[in-house]
Amino acid sequence: MSSNGICDRVAIVGMGCTNFGEHWDKSASDLLIDATESAYKSAGVDAEQVDAYWLGTTGSGVSGLTASLPLKIQYKPVTRLENMCATGSEALRNAAYAVASGAYDLVCAFGVEKLKDSGFSGLTGTAPPGDGTDSGLTAPANFSLLAPAYCKKYGVDEDTMKDVMSKIAWKNHYNGARNDRAQFKKEVPIEKIKASPKIAGMLGIFDCSGVSDGAAAAIVCRAEDAHKYCDNPIFIKALSFVAGPAEGSMRQDYDFTTFPEVVASAEDAYKQAGITDAREQISMAEVHDCFTPTELVLMEDLGFSSRGQAWQDVVDGRFELKGDQPINPDGGLKSFGHPIGASGLRMMFEMWLQLRGEAGPRQIDNPKLGLTHNLGGAPGRCVSFVSVVGPAS
């Protein structure tokens, strides 16, 4: 795979992010207005200055009208896009490339999802008319396949695995308890996590991310313009996105201990950013912890742990807030829920805060490079996004 990348050519100069949670009193439009106005304010710009918009949402609206109507955007390009759970990150990627190309000078990437209005448990999709041959499995069932496969391949017994999974959930809730924007702002005792009712396979309810509403937005421009808007911008080092051929769902040699799509997008992103040792060079990351075994496997796919060693790194506390490589310092999907279109930008918002020293009780000492990651789909058939961001080189 070959990407030229846009390392250090594009900056984020303002961001906004709503609280995530059960916004019974707010519509998707309200959340979008809140996040966007907050991002404008953060960048010190007004709507007139923004040339174009990329809106990520999977189910809270179709077309650019989803944003242009509530925000009264004045006859400008608004692109609505969807790429499963990477939807919010995809809005940012496309917006960044638009300014890098020179087509626009100042753009906005935003994402919103209003999940709680459906009344359903978990995420639901809107599939096109079909032939009825889908397996009909839920996301937790699909991702639960990782845990026994990992145990078998690396000789980890199920009790240890359950401890590791619970520790990941515990860590993310610990971080979320230090974040006013999180849906769940409470630490959860590890014993309570371990004893939670079964959802799928080894997954209890506390191994699953929640269901919430939220929105986030970023204002993006070329690097050379960044200081017009902001004293302390953050710079895009890499943006990678891949969609896989879904081989794992058809080929017997796929063993459910890795996401080849994540490996490919990480490799691409690291090449763009000039990273040779992700374990050492990435200070912190927001990764797609939709389910606890997902986060475990991601540590290996992203190169933070050697193959078969992520569980030991979890046990050793490497990924905790005070550890060597904090993962999901804002609390992750675990504490925020997963309003799909917003999640990728919510992750970037944490990088924005951390790199600018604004993360308060969660602040990581002197972070250099941060990474955000999403994946959408299921083990064996998914899409993956990886970004690397940091200060000016």
Binding site: S118, G119, F120, S121, G122, T124, A127, P129, G130, D131, G132, T133, S135, G136, L137, T138, P140, A141, N142, S144, L145, P148, A149, K152, K198, I199, A200, G201, P245, A246, E247, S249, M250, R251, Q252, Y254, F256, G380
Partner: protein
């Protein structure tokens, strides 16, 4: 004259004990939540066609519990069996006698040189607390027919009687069938059954004592008892009515009892099959020496052994739509759309996969671009319905919509290549493990918007 060339049966995995409903001894077979009379007909027919020596040119599907009141159920069965489309298809029903009547029609078609498949299948639903519920059962039986010289059992004689009277009945609006009192029915039916019995023996120039096994099925147990008692038969001449192990399977039952007799029959045996419902049919058969080479993979007794008898009564009532229940907080499954189904027909109904002619890799479901080598449009059909497979990994899904949670979902690898992600059925979730050997089974996944959605699941080998 013509005869039966091959046969197959299907008895579902679950049993409801009569103790669980306070209705005496024994147990009844229960179609799983994902089965109906068409899906069970496919299962029985698969066994029958293994020994048929060729494809049928006509399907007769008999049921009084057809999945569709309008829409040819025989077409679902044709597709599920991956048979040629250049065949006839007929649904028959209207009376639980229709199964034996359809066997007669099968013999007539074979006499005319045709090669029919006759399949009778039933999901028997009765009002809670009633005799139809406790005495009924679910199952299917299939026969193929052909010329005398290719038969495992040839027709010797036949007799019929059709009678207009209120025995068992149900209008389309009625959820459950009604039946007039047993003594009135017996008053009408006993002479009718005796009549067809007498006529068929006369036509064959036989005495009752010449018959190896007498099968008497019918709507009215009093008729059966009275006729058998009056026929001067030795106990060993009377066939097992399967009432304690299966229950009466409607149109399938006379055929199912016949199959059970054929499972143990020897050349030269004379078998009398009768069914009393809205009149009566009687058919006298003689078993040929081809019987030993044509027995189906699953005997009735093999189906009876592979079972689970702990089905709770309330689950049974939910499965049959009798008992309303709280749905999960998940969207209802989507109604499958008409145009995509014929596009995927080979895969969806026949479970026909693809194999790349360029690199030889299996592609499930069939792909236009090979998952291994990327060749475009180099795919040929490869049937997978009978392919052996095993569990690569699995999970229990407590969140997915199901009438029997948790859904057991597995990644299934086929011995001859290829992998699918599919649901498992007919097993104990606690007993599932990686490496378990499985076989594929045709199921009704769900019904949405009045459309039955058929596809394949895997089950532990039975």
């Amino acid at each position: 004259m013509a005869g039966i060339v091959s046969y197959g049966t299907y008895i579902p995995y679950f049993r409801l004990t009569r103790e669980a409903i306070g209705a005496g001894r024994g147990e009844r077979a229960v179609a799983s939540y994902d089965e109906d009379s068409a899906s069970m007909a496919v299962e029985a027919s698969r066994d029958a066609l293994r020994n048929a020596g060729g494809a049928p040119d006509q399907i007769l599907f008999s049921s009084i519990s057809p999945p569709y009141a309008e829409k040819l159920n025989a077409a679902t069965i044709q597709a599920g069996l991956n048979l040629s489309k250049h065949i006839g298809g007929v649904d028959v029903g209207g009376s639980s006698r229709a199964g034996l009547s359809a066997i007669g029609l099968g013999l007539d078609l074979a006499s005319a040189g045709r090669k029919p498949l006759v399949v009778a299948s039933e999901v028997t639903v009765g009002a809670p607390g009633g005799a139809r519920e406790s005495g009924g059962g679910d199952g299917a039986v299939a026969f193929t027919f052909g010329a005398d010289d290719d038969a495992i059992a040839t027709e010797i004689a036949r007799a019929s009687n059709t009678e207009e009277f209120l025995d068992a009945w149900r209008t389309p609006e009625m959820a459950f069938p009604s039946q007039w009192e047993e003594r009135f029915g017996a008053n009408i039916m006993v002479p009718i059954v005796v009549d067809v019995l007498t006529r068929v023996l006369e036509a064959a120039a036989c005495e009752a004592s010449d018959i190896s096994k007498v099968i008497l099925d019918g709507t009215n147990p009093r008729v059966t008892r009275t006729v058998l008692a009056g026929a001067k038969l030795a106990p060993e001449q009377i066939a097992d009515d399967l009432s304690s192990s299966v229950g009466r399977t409607g149109t399938a039952h006379a055929g199912l009892m016949l199959a059970n007799v054929l499972d143990q029959a020897s050349a030269g045996d004379k078998i009398l099959v009768m069914c009393g419902a809205d009149g009566a049919d009687a058919l006298l058969l003689e078993v040929t020496d081809k019987i030993d080479s044509r027995r189906p993979p699953h005997s009735v007794s093999r189906w009876l052994e592979a079972k689970r008898s702990d089905l709770p009564y309330n689950a049974f009532l939910k499965w049959r739509g009798v008992l309303p229940f709280e749905p999960p907080r998940r969207p209802d499954p989507a109604r499958p759309a008409a145009p995509p189904m014929p596009r995927a027909e080979g895969w969806k109904f026949g479970f026909v996969g693809g194999r790349c002619t360029s690199c030889g890799a299996a592609n499930l479901p069939p792909q236009r671009v090979c998952v291994m080598c990327g060749s475009v449009d180099e795919m040929e059909d490869e049937p997978y319905a009978d392919a052996d497979c095993k569990i690569a990994t699995y999970t229990l899904d407590h969140l997915a919509y199901s009438l029997q949670p948790p859904v057991v979902a597995a990644v299934v690898d086929f011995e001859k290549g290829g992998r699918i992600n599919c649901q498992l059925t007919d097993m104990d979730p606690e007993q599932v493990k990686i490496g378990d050997e499985l076989e594929m089974t045709f199921r009704r996944m769900y019904t949405a918007g009045g459309v039955h959605n058929y596809f394949w699941k895997a089950r532990p080998k039975r």
